[in-house]
Amino acid sequence: MQPVQKNKRKRHFTKEDGKAYLMLLPYIILFSTFILVPVIIAMGLSFTYFDVINEPSFMGLLNYITLFTQDEVFLKYVLPNTFLYALIVGPGGYVISFLLAWMLAQIQPIPRTILALCIYTPSMLGSVFIGVIWKTIFSGDQSGWFNSILLRLGLIDTPIQFLLTSDYFMLIMIIVSLWSAMGIGFLSMISGILNIDQELYEAAYVDGIRNRFQEIIYITVPSMKPQMFFGAVMAIVNAFNMGWIGVTLSGANPTPGYSGQLITNHIDDYGFLRYEMGYAAAISVVLLLVVYGFNLVAGRLFGDND
């Protein structure tokens, strides 16, 4: 990220500044109202008890203490689930999308466009559509796609209730999420790879690079650091934004046996079902901090830290 430019002399707010802010005003107003202010409110509410009806009452750090010491569902299911899910879908999805982008860059333009479109399509479907498709595939009766394949192969005798039991639930969530994870970050990486100066590769081979793997490590990735960073941010955000997937697939919050309970579901559970807004806000703040933490790591790896 760009360093803050320090003005040598203290500059007063000029007419030009005013004009610039006037043009930015619509964006600043909407951004503040629907992004910035909600984040600040969540931080504020996280230190209170608030049931929507009565005024919030200040509780200090109690919500956070309860969350990390008393909340059995959070500690036993939500936290491990979230980390498992986020690590596979975030960094895992990221590595997959890089590899796919890299392979796509090695083939001719027309097949590349077609294949890239197939791979990108699931990411633009939206929650409702994804729910409809995968509920049909993993439906618990014999007309469910996956069940019918297993039945015909003779691997099972009776259909498995994939979406109503906890056995396979997390696995299905991860598959569905990875399936729809090849979005805008993936596109960014394709064009990043395509735009690398060819001479860099030539020079590298003169300098003694021997194989494709070295080529990726020493040339491709370092030459497209900005795209790698953008892709990483998108992958992480996508992993946490997909929190609805478990509830959409099972049709219930909490998910079967808490097997697919992620931190976003826990927020909804306390916020919209139990109306404990202060506690829900504390969980939101933890979530935002976790996302921020992941991004710091991405920044370390790909940011401009020279």
């Binding site: 964006y27 409110i41 090695q106 294949l115 633009m124 559509f129 498709i133 509920k135």
Partner: protein, 296 residues
């Protein structure tokens, strides 16, 4: 590998963006084609379900492709009304209206914002852009509750604006358009200023025509968000006549009757097609924009 070296006789490194087919590409096709098929198959399947007669929807073994395609699902979908008597067409119309309004508003504020960030020097610019870059990692579901509080406090519930305003400012869109605008030479703008052009004229006559690909990308991204959004219809609107198609599809899909299954598939296709078409039309512009998408 060796063969290629002999044939070309020179640098045998990168084979990025090849014009012609070579045997070395086969291994990539072998991996990519099945994978792409896996990605697209569920979509193909659902699209086919939309054209299946009721008997075929629950056949065992299930059909991938409709054997006896019919338009009946679409016919009954359009003839259908919700339990509160709101016809399907109303939801469709609402979706179109809300989407057009949001995309248009987003376009205007993104153009103005991106131009200002890219080409103006003003106090607090670096800090503001940094905040926007932080917002790229914003997870909306995390603050659903405080968003709800803000929206009720502003009396936006049960208005059309509640569909539009929360999605009109999109940090990713602004970021991409700004990165693209950066590469317009300052000399162009300076020349226009010399000729006495006013700020908005510069934006309209010089900036907008040059950043079309980035704007197309911003439109695609906004469209995908709004067209599929159910948040506003679920949480902020109580009046069925103001809800959208995505919301209606959601309520259809939780209905477990046989007739609903066909109509759900039909409604899904109706939602999905515009999305796909817009992306296909604009894909080369999107890819052009993506080459400037890096975070430095």
């Amino acid at each position: 590998m060796k063969k290629r070296k002999q044939r070309r006789g020179d640098f045998q490194g990168s084979r990025i963006n090849p014009r012609n087919f070579s045997r070395g590409q086969i291994k990539f096709y072998v991996i990519l084609i099945p994978l792409a098929a896996f990605m697209i198959l569920p979509v193909v399947m659902l699209v086919n379900r939309a054209f299946m007669p009721l008997g075929e929807l629950f056949a065992f073994p299930p059909h991938i492709v409709a054997h006896n395609p019919t338009m009946n699902n679409f016919k009954s979908l359009f003839a259908l009304s919700s339990t509160t008597g709101v016809p399907m067409l109303r939801y469709l119309l609402n979706s179109v209206l809300v989407t057009v309004m949001t995309v248009a508003l987003n376009l205007v504020i993104t153009i103005l914002g991106a131009y200002t960030f890219a080409k103006k020097n003003f106090k607090g610019k670096a800090a503001l852009f940094e905040i926007n870059q932080l917002a790229l990692m914003f997870v909306p579901t995390a603050v659903a509750i405080s968003r709800y509080l803000v929206i009720t406090r502003l009396h936006l519930t049960d208005t059309w604006l509640v569909h539009v305003l929360p999605l009109a400012a999109m940090p990713v869109g602004l970021f991409l358009v700004k990165q693209f605008t950066d590469q317009i030479p300052d000399a162009l703008i300076e020349a226009a200023v010399m000729d006495g052009a006013r700020e908005l004229t510069i934006v309209r006559k010089i900036i907008v025509p040059l950043i079309r690909p980035a704007l197309a990308t911003s439109i695609v991204l906004t469209f995908q968000q709004v067209w599929m959004a159910t948040e506003a219809s679920n949480n902020y609107v109580n009046n069925d006549t103001m809800r959208t198609l995505a919301y209606y599809l959601n309520s259809l899909s939780t209905n477990n009757t046989v007739a609903a299954a066909g109509m759900t598939a039909a409604a899904s296709v109706l939602l999905f097609l515009p999305n796909l078409l817009i992306f296909i039309c604009m894909q080369s512009q999107v890819m052009n924009t993506m080459s400037h998408s890096g975070i430095k």
